[in-house]
Symmetry: C2
Subunit: 550 residues, 2 copies
């Protein structure tokens, strides 16, 4: 007797363990499972039920519909399930189910603004609901949770469902947690990067060479990008730089550039500017590049959850989206910044280089001193003044030297200059006036006033000077504390607000010597910043006695 009696399907007897840590978690869908999935969906199609739309005029950023709890349960639809929402005019969308006991009555469906708008649903419209299998991407998230690496198609499926708002915040949080704890293989990071790139627009300049730079961050001031872009462009290398606004710092590059010129451009406008001037400094948030990353960041930020693999993918997807083939990555190392020991810095640099190779990017990681702010000004206008001074040949030496060093390394990486000569070439571009002339072109092309002088840049008219209480030597300037005080004074919203450092680490000071000034645009903001000094101390003095024991 061979098979064939009723019920005798050839099952593979695949064990999917539940309820414990012992699962082997092999959740890839087989052909057989796909077939079963299809049959199930045909079955559910027959069980579709009809409800009347109650439009809730709220934009949630999610594809969620609210169903009556009892009615949904009767139709085998539970919290977090997916339903196919179909309108009489032929529109359809897969939505996540939220259940409500009271808000939605039997025979009704609560449709939020996002879904109502997408499907042109109006109050009282008749809607058909069909229960769906949960997206395969959830199986891949589970697989990752169980410690397996994901294949490219699986990562792409997650990003695809993410872009379609088909995954709940909880599901995405599980994925990010899994990547955090389990780590990610090289292939997986490359898959994630490529999937993020595919999720948005891409800038194709059609010229060569295109370069980019990135800083891991954490250093106050450090406005090297604004010095480097005109330097790099003046050296003949294209650099379509997209930057962010401040999140927790006192100023982002976009905030600082905005002191001189508009920064909000479309991809096409960006292309026009860069093809003309070779360089531009724009706000990345205004373009639709690497869109999935913005959605991932919305989950990662509130949780402060930044797995190494997603960090790499997030950064490199942005570089790849603008078509960069050469990238220098500044990895500041020191107390209080993101990377706090040489081993971590080297590992991070090596990861960038490895992943970059798969993405057709030549990357150099540069581990820099992140132990104190770079430049004297902290806050959009104060940093902008430093930048303009540096480009004109003066300004803070640390900002000038670091920018020239990073630019020089990039020139060497691209092959524009011989190894070891990059720094001098960059310094010459400054001293010859070419760098500032290039910046003027960029400012003009972005719609600003190219004849701006550093003294034109308005600084907050309210000032408070902090002096040394005792004689001593400055042992530490705390990046985070400096940023917090600048923010308390009003930065980045008030562009003239911030902190100006008069002394650097290692300086000897006498009682009464000026340590730093706080600038604000109103007395109230200044008062608030002064009070904030009680919480965040920007400057630490050397101590003779480091501890006592008895």
């Amino acid at each position: 007797m061979i098979g064939g009696i009723f019920g005798a399907v050839g099952k593979k007897g695949k064990a999917v363990a539940k309820g414990g840590n012992s699962g082997n978690g092999n959740h890839i869908l087989s052909e057989e499972e796909k077939e079963k999935r299809k049959k199930k969906e045909q079955l559910w199609e027959q069980k579709k039920y009809t409800v009347q739309a109650h439009v809730i005029d709220i934009i949630t950023g999610k594809s969620v519909v609210v169903l009556n709890e009892t009615e949904a349960m009767e139709n085998d639809v539970r919290q977090g399930y997916r339903v196919h929402v179909k309108t009489s005019s032929g529109g359809d969308k897969i939505c996540i189910v939220d259940l409500s006991k009271e808000m939605v009555k039997r025979g009704e469906i609560g449709v939020f603004g996002d879904v109502a708008h997408a499907l042109k649903i109006e109050e009282g419209d008749i809607i058909q609901l069909v229960k769906m299998e949960r997206p395969a991407s959830i199986e891949y998230i589970r697989k990752k949770l169980d410690g397996e690496g994901l294949e490219r198609a699986q990562v792409r499926s997650i990003i695809h469902d993410l872009m379609d708002n088909r995954l709940s915040e909880a599901e995405l949080a599980v994925w990010i947690s899994a990547m955090y704890i389990r780590g990610m293989g090289e292939d997986e990071v490359v898959s994630l990067t490529n999937s993020i790139v595919e999720s948005g627009d891409q800038l194709d300049l059609g010229v060569k060479p295109v370069a980019d730079k990135h800083c891991i961050g954490g250093v106050a001031g450090n406005r090297t990008t604004m010095v480097m872009v005109p330097l790099i462009a003046a050296g003949g290398v294209y650099i379509p730089k997209t930057s962010s606004r401040a999140i927790t710092s006192a100023a982002g590059t976009a905030d600082t550039m905005e002191v001189l010129a508009p920064v909000d451009f479309s991809v096409d406008e960006m292309k026009r500017i860069v093809l003309k001037t070779k360089g531009a400094i724009a706000w990345g948030g205004g373009m639709n590049l690497a869109s999935a990353d913005d959605k991932l960041i919305k989950i990662r930020n509130p949780l402060s959850l930044d797995p190494r693999g997603t960090l790499l993918a997030s950064i490199l997807a942005k570089k790849k989206s603008v078509g960069a083939h050469y990238v220098v990555v500044d990895i500041p190392l020191g107390r209080g910044v993101k990377v706090m020991n040489m081993e971590d810095a080297e590992a991070l640099g090596a990861d960038f280089i490895k992943i970059g190779k798969h993405l057709d990017m030549t990357i150099e990681g540069l581990i820099t001193d992140g132990s104190e702010p770079v430049g004297n000004g902290i806050g959009p206008a104060l940093e902008c003044r430093d930048v303009v001074e540096v480009l004109k040949g003066g300004g803070p030496a640390d900002l000038r030297n670091k920018s020239a060093m990073l630019t020089g390394k990039l020139f060497e990486l691209v092959g524009k200059v011989k190894p070891g000569e990059g720094y001098d070439v960059a310094m010459n571009l400054i001293s010859s006036g070419k760098a500032w002339n290039k910046m003027k072109d960029i400012i003009a092309e972005q719609g600003g006033d190219p004849n701006v002088r550093e003294s034109d840049i308005p600084i907050g008219q309210c000032k408070h000077t902090v002096v040394a209480e005792k004689e001593g030597k400055i042992s530490h300037i705390d990046n985070k504390a400096v940023s917090r005080i600048a923010r308390a004074a009003g930065a980045p919203k008030n562009k003239g607000a911030g902190v100006y450092l008069h002394r650097l680490k290692g300086d000897r000071v006498r009682q009464g010597d000026v340590l730093f000034d706080i600038y604000a645009e109103s007395e109230a903001s200044l008062d608030y910043a002064i009070k904030a000094l009680d919480v965040w101390k920007p400057i630490e003095m050397e101590k003779m006695l480091l501890g006592t024991m008895r």
Copy 2:
């Protein structure tokens, strides 16, 4: 020179790594950090800002307010941050921030029904907002993510914030993911169990001995609870049983008992019934026992994420909430149920016993055969008929024997009978009529008709009989497929719907022999169940050829 110059605070230099997997993750708040947190909050208190309430009449089950994105960012408030929401009448509540570009205008706050109701906020009310530090419980979640065990106070703090709706779904999902991947220590499971117990009401009968039973689930039919409760009560042991309704099965104990009597009681009503009859079978969802567990399940279920530790805590919290000191746990083992090998079953049983000791519960884990349904009927009324027949001395042998075995083990555990005599004592309680008399008392006390006869229990009038297509031996009856077919036929909503098995595993059948009947309350439901047979096959026949190779 000893300390003291401006800015020289004694920092511990504690390194909290970010952006990678290398963090040591020691996030416990020190006294110093608490002090700093307090100072920060004083600072933010001064930066409170005033907005006007726009009430959104939707119950979300979360304490979320929606702020204008630009205005919030200017006030340093970001997505997922917490704000203290204060009304002019003195109400206040900590809420999670959601940001919106369009929905909420500057100067406004979107307040969902939950928060509006709790604070009695009406449209146009003036609201003060103060930014808050994020709850310490989030630090504990991060700590768990980084692989450290949590202390009792930390687990309690998470559950406390969970009950206050102060943690977002994403944050809870991270916690559950972390427990899943990192595992949990014994202390941690005990802490979680106790915290869940404290989150709800507790039933204190003030009598002894109080027992309970639990089944890990996955077996179709298997309505042992309804046989065991009258048996145990008839044997002189108190058993205030709370049960669930079906989630994915064809019937829960609560659904089945409801065929005979109401099951929705308050804690006080439950106490009254049990003090009178020694036993009751109620719906757990109607009481406020172990409330935090319901909230955790809402996150765990859509993700099918059931870490061992939360499974144990979830079950034992319910037992502890009803004051049980003796518990038998039925762990069905077999193909297609939750526990699929002896090793896992033994480990789970051992965990129950260990954790139980800390909770002052004597637990016996009983590994049972879960490879096929127990009882012939699947569906509320069909299972109920089996139960009544068994209590009267007839009915399916497997259900009778298993119920008597479990009950006997409990009697032995409590010390009511000598080891080895429990089964016979239980069987005698059935044959003497005491069990059925006790059930009648319970039915009466719960408000049902104690004179019910099994033939009174209405079964769906539409029937479809499935026969063997060929001669052969039944090798497997699939619990899940049987449940799915019963659900497709209308169970548990239609109490008369379900499947009745005429043959069991190992039975030899001839072509045309009846395998099972499907019952439904309408022809449409029956048709649907018949179509579902194309997806789920309840019965597998033995095959001669298990595979081919060439």
